[in-house]
């Protein structure tokens, strides 16, 4: 099988895909790989932004990124010099940390029609306590920031790390969900004038069942006070909706563009396979362009040690050699099984468990180089 442009690691960062989205379950090393790809992109001479959520302290140190990056893109001090295939000089590398709460506040600042509306939202109890954790809001805010940055057009390459979510696709579905919500009847209902001057639910809302009896029951179950806060929040938000809807649509278009490439990062081992397959299928079904699947932190095989598998060590302190041989065999089996379950055309590579997590730009660069090299090889694990 030849390495077509679809497979190639070079193709991933060739300028064909100005946006690369790194997705996968929590704890598989997405953020580190996103940073490594960003560094390689800059090294290849392209101005690059890495947007991340929750990098480890070590990775932040490695990138030279502080909390300042929560508010704006900050430059990563990459040593300059000639590099890259076409002899271009190292490009700009910048990093930003996505902070949903701050993005949300900025959005309110920007779109609120006047000071009174702005304050109504920012001081609303529902907003202060809950809005940041509203389902989908966190993810949506990340997408919002992505949109801002991509529209500014300052970068030739954006690498987007995605937040750890329980439902793997929450992040991608956020714009559609927000649009759906805005277009559902629920919003119109929320925007009605619900309460009369005395703080009772109005019976005149056209909802006949909303008589005093139901009001009493709702009060018993939920509490009218809270309902009022919640409705006020949605009402205060009213003037912002149109801007929201428009942008959510454009963001979805950006994510579904054939030029946007998704890299799916997976953990090693057989037990992760259903997760990985589920993720890959959902991406494809939803119409996103799935690029390579990267099985990260694969324990290397130690063929010479396999005879030791049956050796002991005591039960709770296993012999390390036997353990590593077992882990290597286990992860290899997992990889082979995954290989047999994905489409023959699906680019799939394994990255070995590193002796150390990358702690500086040099080791990140090495990791990125290794990833791209394996992507360029037709069958790197053969």
């Amino acid at each position: 099988m030849s390495a077509g442009p679809e497979r190639g690691g070079g193709a991933l960062l060739s300028g064909e895909s100005p946006l690369v989205v790194v997705v996968g379950s929590g704890g598989v090393g997405k953020t580190t790989l996103a940073a490594a790809l960003g560094l390689r992109s800059a090294r290849a001479g392209r101005d690059t932004l890495v947007m991340t959520f929750d990098p480890s302290l070590r990775l932040k140190d490695a990138l030279g990124v502080t909390d300042e990056a929560r508010d704006r893109e900050v430059p990563v001090p990459v040593p300059t010099g000639q590099e890259g295939g076409d002899g271009r000089e190292t490009g700009l590398l910048e990093a930003s940390l996505l902070d949903p709460r701050r993005t949300f506040d900025r959005l309110v600042e920007r779109y609120a029609p006047d000071e009174a509306a702005r304050r109504r939202i920012l001081e609303n109890r529902f907003y202060r306590h809950l809005a940041g954790t509203l389902s989908g809001v966190l993810e949506y805010m990340a997408v919002e920031r992505l949109f801002e940055v991509s529209r500014e057009g300052r970068y030739e390459q954006i690498i987007l790390d995605t937040p750890p979510t329980t439902q793997a696709l929450d992040f991608l579905e956020a714009p559609a969900r927000i649009v759906g919500f805005l277009e559902s009847g629920a919003l119109k209902i929320a925007l009605r004038d619900w309460f009369d001057d005395e703080g009772h639910l109005k019976a005149s809302t056209g909802w006949k069942f909303l008589d005093r009896k139901i009001e009493h029951l709702l009060d018993r179950v939920i509490g009218l006070e809270f309902l009022r806060e919640m409705l006020e929040f949605f009402q205060a938000f009213g003037p912002l909706y149109d801007g929201f809807r428009e942008r959510a649509g454009e963001v979805e278009e950006l994510l579904k563009s054939t030029r946007t490439r998704f890299v799916l990062v997976a953990g090693p081992g057989e037990e992760r396979i259903p997760d990985t397959l589920f993720f890959a299928r959902k991406l494809r079904e939803a119409g996103y362009s799935l690029g390579p699947i990267v099985v990260n932190r694969v324990h290397p095989s130690f063929p010479g040690e396999e005879g030791r598998l049956e050796d002991g060590g005591s039960r709770c302190t296993p012999d390390g050699r036997a353990l590593f041989a077992w882990l290597g065999a286990q992860d290899r089996r997992g990889f082979e099984q995954l290989r047999s379950l994905v489409h023959a055309e699906q680019p799939l590579v394994g990255l070995p468990l590193q002796p150390e997590e990358p702690t500086d730009l040099a080791s990140l660069d090495a990791l990125g180089t290794e990833l791209l090299r394996r992507l360029d090889e037709p069958d790197p694990d053969a």
Binding site: G27, L57, T133, Q167, L210, G223, E270, L323, P355, E356
Partner: protein, 345 residues
């Protein structure tokens, strides 16, 4: 302050019921929340705690809320599908229940309102649906309420909640407080406050944090412990450090001797173990509670793994922590016995 069991023996003999065991999950019944970053083996630890508890004769249920059911593999049962199933292949008196949070919300509200026809009317109302959709923390709250009731109705001696993995793991534990603050007065606020009190009370609710001795999980475990202090004014009861690589044999010590023929396996082993040691030291510097280490074992996911982890836990809770060159394990216990809790806030 939790009462600490009187620790008379440094080497707790295998299989004894409790005395000498340093962690509350083994010494008392009740409600325990097992939380931690995704991928650290949280479910395996929850299952292991469940087995240890059932083995001590306590009727125990492990409750799972992850949308992808997987606990049943570890406990050797069919998928629960919301039912309570006994994991008798693994241990008598050990049960499993998988929950769909939204269904629990509906049930909790049904039970509070009591009149069936009225419940249906309320639930059909758009205000209610809006509320359930839009109110963050509600599902977490309902799950905690469900667990509380399993105990209150004396159906179980011990309930172990395998909390959903999130980027921000404290959210389940914080949910009641957040909701009660946001909702304020009213009946719903009252439920939220009741549960918030439960979660904040170390005598009624144990918090077990699972982590691995690697940078990100350790960072998150420390964040979790800090947030518990800040928001709930309590500390975790137990930290389980899972998946530790075994100590190196004597002579090939952790210090890292570069001489000799290249040996990729030994090199990898030594350096991953070094990461374990470094991160254990980092944890030990500030960790306010008890720590237990569990080894990485050459056993696939299933009942055999749970049984083996349980055996390792019981044989000597601190064994797998090994000599990490820090005050974990015995030295820390000795200090605590001398009345100085390590790194309390």
């Amino acid at each position: 302050m939790t009462e600490r069991p009187h620790d008379t023996s440094d080497a707790a003999p295998s299989g004894t019921s409790g005395s000498g065991a340093p962690d509350p999950t083994l010494t008392r019944a009740g409600f325990f929340v097992v939380t931690g970053k995704g991928g650290v083996g949280k479910s395996a630890v929850a299952a292991t705690l469940g087995r240890a508890s059932a083995r001590r004769g306590r009727r125990t249920v492990v409750v799972e809320v992850d949308p992808r059911e997987n606990l049943h593999q570890l406990l050797g049962t069919a998928p629960s599908g919301g039912e309570i199933l006994e994991a008798s292949d693994l241990e008598q008196g050990l049960f499993l229940q998988h929950l769909k949070p939204r269904a629990v919300v509906d049930r909790v509200i049904e039970e509070r309102v009591k009149v069936g026809a009225v419940v249906r009317k309320v639930q059909a109302s758009i205000v209610y649906q809006h509320f359930v959709e839009g109110c963050p923390g509600l599902e977490e709250l309902a799950v905690l309420e469900h667990a509380r009731r399993l105990l209150a109705e004396r159906r179980f001696d011990t309930v172990i909640l395998d909390a959903p993995a999130t980027g921000h793991g404290v959210s389940l534990l914080r949910a009641p407080l957040v909701v009660s603050e946001a909702v304020g007065e009213g009946p719903f606020g009252t439920i939220a406050r009741e549960i918030a009190d439960l979660v904040a009370d170390p005598a009624r609710c144990g918090v077990v944090i699972v982590t691995q001795a690697e940078e990100m999980p350790v960072q998150e475990a420390r964040d979790l412990a800090r947030m518990l202090g800040e928001h709930l004014d309590r500390r975790p009861d137990l930290l389980v450090v899972n998946g530790l690589y075994p100590p190196l044999p004597r002579g090939e010590g952790d210090a890292g001797d570069e001489a000799g023929a290249p040996d990729a396996l030994l090199d990898l082993w030594r350096r991953r173990r070094a990461i374990n040691r470094r991160e254990l030291r980092r944890l030990a510097e500030t960790w306010p509670g008890e720590m237990v280490g569990l080894p990485l074992l050459p056993i696939g996911r299933g009942t055999e793994l749970v049984a083996a982890l349980d055996a390792c836990w019981s044989s000597d809770p601190y064994r797998a922590l090994g000599s990490v060159g820090a005050k974990t394990g015995r030295s820390a216990r000795r200090e605590r016995r001398a009345g100085r809790p390590g790194g309390a806030k």
